[in-house]
Symmetry: C2
Subunit: 342 residues, 2 copies
DNA sequence: CTGAAAGCGCTTACAG
DNA sequence: CTGAAAGCGCTTACAG
């Protein structure tokens, strides 16, 4: 089998389509079609080709395939950060769904910066990805055009939209923010602070939900919002907890925009001997690892990032195969998780 | 510029090497060489070519390049899990180092199973990765052969070895395990339990360090080892903490093989009213997020996974460029972080 | 339903 | 130091 190969100077030593074709006694195109499952090939031939491919241990060359078809087997996934476990869960779900379907996941980290995302997009598009997964809708005009003009199937995650032609899987961050605030109100809390970091678009949507709930209850007080642009972290949560208590000792509940902040707040409360929920109720967002094990366990909003990852990947697979997609906008909802901190 | 392109039926609309060559008035090969920085091209030509490429917005086609050169711009990174922040830190450092050098990171999750790693390797090798990053040395014979026979540069991370021809960046898990145990001994602890989960090779190396330290002190007691094969987690740490206390109420210190277990243990102690370190000292491993904020703050071993990721990526870059590598085995050490839990 | 030809956009040898 | 030719391993469009 290596005789033919060794004659050519630049042979890679790979088993090629030609080798399989020779072994099966058909033309290379037929092998290509049979292996890709194009229906136009006779059943008996398909079997013969598959047997030959199997016997020779043939593995298609992704580079050759990408060059000829103008489409690779890569899916670029653009997320803000890896240090937020939310996105790790999402990424893992996407990866787990795409791999068995024959697609590789390329990660891109945007650090919450539209300009960085634009640069990543620019370089990733050169790879002719088969598909694209992006976080939310906040991007530069250039990035938007790049995606649209490329014709590469794209699914947006974490938020929803009903703009025509847009594919997305997420939930309403605003509604979820409103729901958890309403829960605090239902517990009789009246001076509810909103403490946030990072201040990305989704955080601000939660803020909007918080505001609506308080406006509806005639309890909105702009002074109860503590918005910090730094990265979200346990440590920052502790500091912000202390800052709220210092600035507004009358606050009877705190809604942290993310669980890591809330966990930090809870730890700070323990350290300071502040009783939760008696003195102040604490709620978080996302239901991250450890929230159920805090003291007291943290009330939060469970967000379906694993399901979002899976559904978005499935939707993308359909788009990449040019199959019809039942619904182009999927709202997967959220779930209040009431524990002892409220 | 599209006249030439539109004549060809299958044109991708891309700006190609030929377009640049035409614009610069040289042959395509010269453009290829100039852009890749091959020294054999005249300085004046290089400038002209670069200007033309810039003007046309030329971006090389990775698929074509991979096909022609038999080498892609992808680096496959095989790690056990994404849910352990240790590996997220590692992955992020690798990604951050490789991207500016023009390499894309492909993630592979092995779930700590050599057989899964072997299958991943099989499929990733078809992509002709430019380089490979793998975790530790525990793999199937087939996987080992696949790597060796492929000729793809490979760097091993997290452990060290002085086997000839092996490239690795890590530290001695055994020594680190010994050091933290010796610290507990130096604090006057005598009945020190070792509590572990996952039981992967690196965990067992830490166990070995623990045993050596206790043997040296004539305090080794096999009954003080609690080895649980389940995945490491906060919740499991809590359970194992309780189990140790139940089985051996005389234990005066616990060395958890990972910080998530230790944090879970600390939270369980808080819940149960067990005083740390008075009643029992608690030490962890890895210095993960939040360990410094526990109550009390957790004594642990800081492991240099970020530096490991950076150095391993640098070493891989050298290997991929066929540059000489100063040292093929890098021991980046570890650092005891003594806090209030011991 | 099957195939011969051409082409995807680069790089590798081989010349000069 | 520069170039013409061939080839990497596939798939696309055009025939039959």
């Amino acid at each position: 089998m290596s005789t033919a190969a060794s004659k050519r100077g630049r042979s890679s030593g790979r088993v090629t389509l030609n080798d399989v074709a020779e072994a099966a006694g058909v033309s290379p195109i037929t092998v290509s079609r049979a292996l890709r499952g194009e229906r136009s090939v006779g059943a008996e031939l398909v079997e013969r080709v598959q047997a030959a491919a199997q016997a020779l241990g043939y593995v298609p060359d992704p580079a050759a395939r990408a060059l000829a078809s103008q489409r690779s087997s890569h899916v670029a996934v653009l997320i803000p950060l890896l240090s937020n476990t939310l996105f790790v869960d999402l990424l893992e779900a996407v990866h787990r769904t795409l791999l068995p379907a024959g697609f590789q996941t390329l990660i891109g980290i945007t650090h919450y910066k539209p300009k960085e995302e634009e640069l990543l997009l620019q370089s990733y598009m050169a790879h002719r990805p088969a598909g694209l997964l992006v976080t939310g809708f906040d991007r530069t005009e250039t990035a938007r055009r790049l995606i649209a003009s490329s014709g590469v199937p794209c699914v947006h995650v974490m938020e929803t939209s009903d703009a025509p032609g847009v594919h997305c899987v997420g939930f309403s961050q605003m509604e979820a923010g409103r729901a958890i605030t309403q829960h605090l109100l239902s517990r009789g809390r009246r001076r509810i602070a909103f403490v946030a970091a990072q201040l990305d678009p989704r955080v601000m949507q939660r803020a909007e939900g918080y505001r609506r709930a308080l406006h509806e209850a005639n309890l909105y007080d702009a002074d109860l919002e503590l918005l910090n642009p730094d990265s979200s972290s346990l440590g920052l949560g502790g500091h912000l907890f202390e800052e709220v208590r210092r600035r507004r000792p009358d606050v009877d509940a705190i809604f942290f925009c993310n669980d890591d902040l809330a966990q930090g707040g809870l730890l700070a409360a323990l350290r300071l001997g502040v009783k939760v929920p008696q003195e102040v109720a604490v709620a978080g967002f996302n239901d991250l690892t450890g929230s159920d094990l805090m003291l007291p366990p943290l009330t939060t909003v469970h967000t379906p990032r694993v399901e979002i990852g899976e559904c978005a990947a499935q939707m993308l697979l359909s788009l990449m195969r040019r199959e019809p997609v039942a619904r182009s906008s999927l709202d997967l909802g959220y779930r209040l998780v009431i524990r002892e901190s409220t």
